[in-house]
């Protein structure tokens, strides 16, 4: 059976009936989002493959016991966010105990979509770099909520489902995250015409 056409609910059912190819399709379907939430949360591209694997191993183990009522994507996304935040926390503890600063996120600059463009585009590439650095300085909570909105383009309702909070709380958190950004990007908010 070709699962590419199946909806999430049928995939989960097929997996629960013992067909591993259904799981393979789930991985294929969501690996992009999982990779990106890890990347945007941890800031280090070299972390992505291992953490993504950890996320899907966790999913494999828990998938047998779930019923998909709302969105499989929400559930997967939440696992990805949790695994990454746990890893960041572990690292923070390791850094505090070992004074090892080798994992400084600012050393791992991302690439920008059109930074190869010349002259006037260089200015915007520089600006985007500033935005990236500011994002890295946000609290985990603020960064996650903002990235779910900006990067995954999810609605407040969908974000609320993923983070288990109300739409009102999503609205407040996103606003707070932007206020934090505003402090970090003073030029951006004040000098720009």
């Amino acid at each position: 059976m070709n699962y590419a056409e199946s909806d999430d609910r049928s995939l989960v059912q097929a997996f629960q009936n013992g067909d591993e190819r259904a799981f393979e399709e789930i991985v294929r379907r969501y690996q992009r989002q999982v990779a990106n939430v890890i990347y945007m949360t941890s800031g280090t591209p070299q972390d992505v493959p291992d953490l993504a694997q950890e996320v899907f191993l966790k999913i494999y183990k828990s998938l047998g016991g779930i019923t998909v009522e709302h969105s499989l994507f929400s559930w997967i996304y939440r696992i990805a966010v949790n695994v990454t935040i746990d890893e960041l926390r572990r690292r923070k503890i390791r850094r505090m105990t070992s004074l090892d600063f080798s994992g400084d996120p600012e050393e791992n600059e991302p690439t920008f979509r059109d930074s190869s463009l010349p002259d006037d585009q260089l200015v915007s590439a520089e600006r985007r770099e500033q935005v990236w650095k500011a994002l890295r300085k946000l609290s985990d909570t603020s960064r996650t909520v903002l990235l779910l909105r900006e990067y995954e383009e999810l609605s407040y309702k969908e974000i609320g489902d993923i983070l288990h909070i109300s739409e009102q709380a999503v609205k407040s958190r996103i606003f707070r995250a932007r206020e934090e950004l505003k402090e970090l990007l003073k030029d951006y908010f004040e000098v720009r015409p």
Binding site: E20, F23, E24, E25, V27, R28, Q31, R32, A35, N36, Y39, M40, P45, V48, P49, A52, Q53, F56, L57, Y60, P110, T111, F112, R113, D114, S124, R127, R128, V131, W132, L135, L146, L147, R149, E150, Y151, S155, Y156, K171, S172, I174, F175, R178, E179, L181, K182, L185, Y188, F189, E190, R192
Partner: protein
């Protein structure tokens, strides 16, 4: 409504999450507030910049790699299961043996503390301190002090 309240509405508006009444209120405010107008423009620019970061991609072989990892983990737990069982039996056995030997030692020599025995016979030490202590059946505080400060 102050500027901060308006900015909260602007944040929702930029995300397309503000109702008509809210949008109307924001637009009315912005018509006479350059600061909030600038804020709305900056939010849109930041948003565009965040979205311009190149998404990371995993190879097409990733799903198979995950399945391989799943199977490796399952195989590993199959290998360790009997070992774990053995280890558990071993620990239980060891515990029983310890309890048994302690009980046995207590039965055989109920009054003699096992640890002190070599010292009492003078086999293990002939230091002054030990000698002083060994001469007394119940050493006083002064005896203890003397033992501690006495040179070898």
């Amino acid at each position: 409504m102050n500027h901060r309240d308006i900015r909260k509405l602007i944040s929702a508006m930029v995300d397309g999450e503000l109702d008509d009444a809210g949008t109307k209120r924001v637009n009315e405010h912005m018509a006479s507030c350059p600061s909030c107008t600038r804020y709305a423009r900056a939010l849109r620019a930041v948003s565009a910049d965040i979205r311009s970061v190149i998404p990371i991609t995993l190879p097409d072989t990733f799903p198979l790699a995950v399945l391989r990892a799943v199977h490796a983990e399952q195989a590993e737990s199959r290998i360790w299961m009997p070992v774990e069982l053995f280890a558990r039996r071993f620990v239980v056995g060891l515990g029983a043996a310890v309890v048994l030997s302690v009980a046995l030692a207590m039965t055989i020599r109920p009054e003699e503390p096992v640890v002190a025995e070599p010292y009492l016979t003078g086999e293990l030490s002939d230091s002054t301190a030990t000698r002083i202590l060994l001469t007394k059946e119940t050493p006083s505080k002064n005896d203890l002090l003397l033992a501690v400060v006495s040179p070898e």
